[in-house]
Symmetry: D2
Subunit: 194 residues, 4 copies
């Protein structure tokens, strides 16, 4: 049986999102039979587009700036319109993660956009799949999904430090693992169809 292939298509402005992307990759790789590829959407070459085209699942990642994904991510999203026209990414699985300086920070809008981009391509959206980790006085910010997101993984990193919160990295690993598991469940339909 063939390995499945997961591509992480992300942009990082100051490095926080890059750390999250690495954690998503670690989580995905922890599932046996999973190939993981990192693609920087601000530096896309032909080989990167081929990795995206050949993937069984694509995980989108970006900081949230001014209430949505970065300009670099949006330039990439616009450039996917050729694949949209040919339905090249149809039926792939998709998921997403984002980071900003404050707890909410309108990150949800970025996740909504990722889910909408996936829908435009005819993909299936894999939600985070976690209850909130910190919504009672007996829980705390060390728990997975401490911020209470559902469409994907949301992280909060203070603007004046390079550090990413341990719980957010753990949540990102969970997302990568979950996407790999769901992609194994769904099987290699992408490449069978080609």
């Amino acid at each position: 049986m063939s390995d499945i292939s997961i591509a992480i298509a992300s942009h990082s402005g100051y490095g926080h999102t890059r750390q999250l992307a690495a954690a998503v990759a670690d989580g995905a790789r922890s599932v046996p039979g999973t190939q993981v590829h990192q693609v920087d959407v601000a530096l896309l070459g032909d080989a990167d587009w081929e990795l995206l085209d050949g993937a069984d699942a694509i995980i989108f990642g970006s900081p949230t700036y001014m209430g949505t994904a970065s300009g670099a991510f949006h330039a990439f999203a616009e450039a996917t319109s050729k694949r949209w026209m040919t339905r090249a990414w149809s039926d792939k699985l998709a998921a997403g993660f984002t980071n900003s300086g404050s707890m909410s920070g309108d990150k949800m809008h970025t996740l909504q956009y990722f889910a909408l981009l996936a829908a435009q391509h005819g993909m299936l959206w894999v939600s985070l799949g976690l209850l909130p980790g910190w919504n009672t006085t007996t829980s705390g910010p060390e728990d997975d999904n401490r911020l209470g997101f559902y469409l994907g993984a949301g992280a909060q990193s203070f603007n004046d430090t390079a550090a990413v919160h341990d719980a957010d990295l753990s949540t990102a690993r969970h997302l990568g693992r979950r996407v790999a598991e769901q992609t194994h469940r769904a099987g290699l339909v992408t490449r069978e169809a080609a």
Copy 2:
């Protein structure tokens, strides 16, 4: 091999959404090995909740009133919070359809809400999977996805007639068929996990 089970959980105010739900059901039933159950979310009994709990996929449907699903649908969504707490619907597939009197009519917000409700439950969202049918001078309103929705199926029915547009019914059948196909692809994980 067991049949898969798809539940259509919808509310209809004046009958247009009911016609769409029937078309979604027809599309799903057209895929061999698929059991389809219709649930009226405004009239939920214990047997209906059991059908929802036992389904491999749930398709949400509602008219769009004042920019979102109907009050009856929202009462249902709030009542699903017990299932949310126990993750009873986790990993099921989900999809959605909606109707309103005008072309856009903020129907997209209703579809966004359906996708968000699915994410809260840890479900996987199945997009419509169609290019727009009417976006050139050589296409026309008789084509599937004539309105150009992506997250799910959007229909437009004039407020002063009971009729639903043929292309919208056809698009609804497509959605039902696609959800059935994707559910067969993903397999019976829901009941295996129980």
Copy 3:
């Protein structure tokens, strides 16, 4: 010169949103020449509808349950369709606030819905108007807008306590004051037009 009138149209499930509504009212009342009316949208009588119709601004409030406003709020929103048809609320100012157990908790979707409901009625949306209070290592959760919302005021109250965070109450007071100030700026056009 006449006083302006601000109506707070909200629903509270367990009391947290009620405390926020009171804080919004306090903030609005702190602006001279401002009449403030509280309306419980789950218990609407004719007198309440008259207060809403006569207001220069309406501030929507609800807990966020399952990713959107409560079922009770949505029943109210659907019931406003008569005012939609007659444009009775056109050009009024509008704003919103919401509460949930976790930091994000998809509260942003509730605020998006409030803004969309206002747009359906032809109202003007008053944003929160604050930078995030807690997005650096030198700031903290005691600052206004500690969660980083923009469309309106977002509060986080643990599910197992009746307490509402002081910073969230202060943020709610800010919202009330801001809506009153902007309503004075815009003037009594609602009643002049009647």
Copy 4:
């Protein structure tokens, strides 16, 4: 009494949005005492930023590509972060318009983003303020707001022609006029505060 100043900050890919921007400008200019400035956000110079900073209202415009504003618009939105930090655009009025090839085409998400960008800046959002023009069998596509949008003006132009629908141009003129009227109502607070 001073004139008010309205800036239209838009990007056009193939010319349809440019025609809409001109119609918005015409509508705004039809209100006495209104200066209107067109700014191409893909070609921003210092003088353009000064026009935006000095405006009493900013109207955002972009095509909808892949479910959101164009990459060029998003690069502009990200570049406004300095103004966000200094609250330079706080309390200005804001509004938006967008175009795509199909009826819905996820244009609503673009309008949601424009409203969110305005909220991040502490602006007030002016909705379209029209009932849908084409939602009964006795109305037709020649009526204003034929597509049924509320947050702003949505237009539909076929991909294979340069033409923009007369009703969409008329709707755009309505939006410009409405923003000018509401800006006169709110007064010159922006420049008084400077």
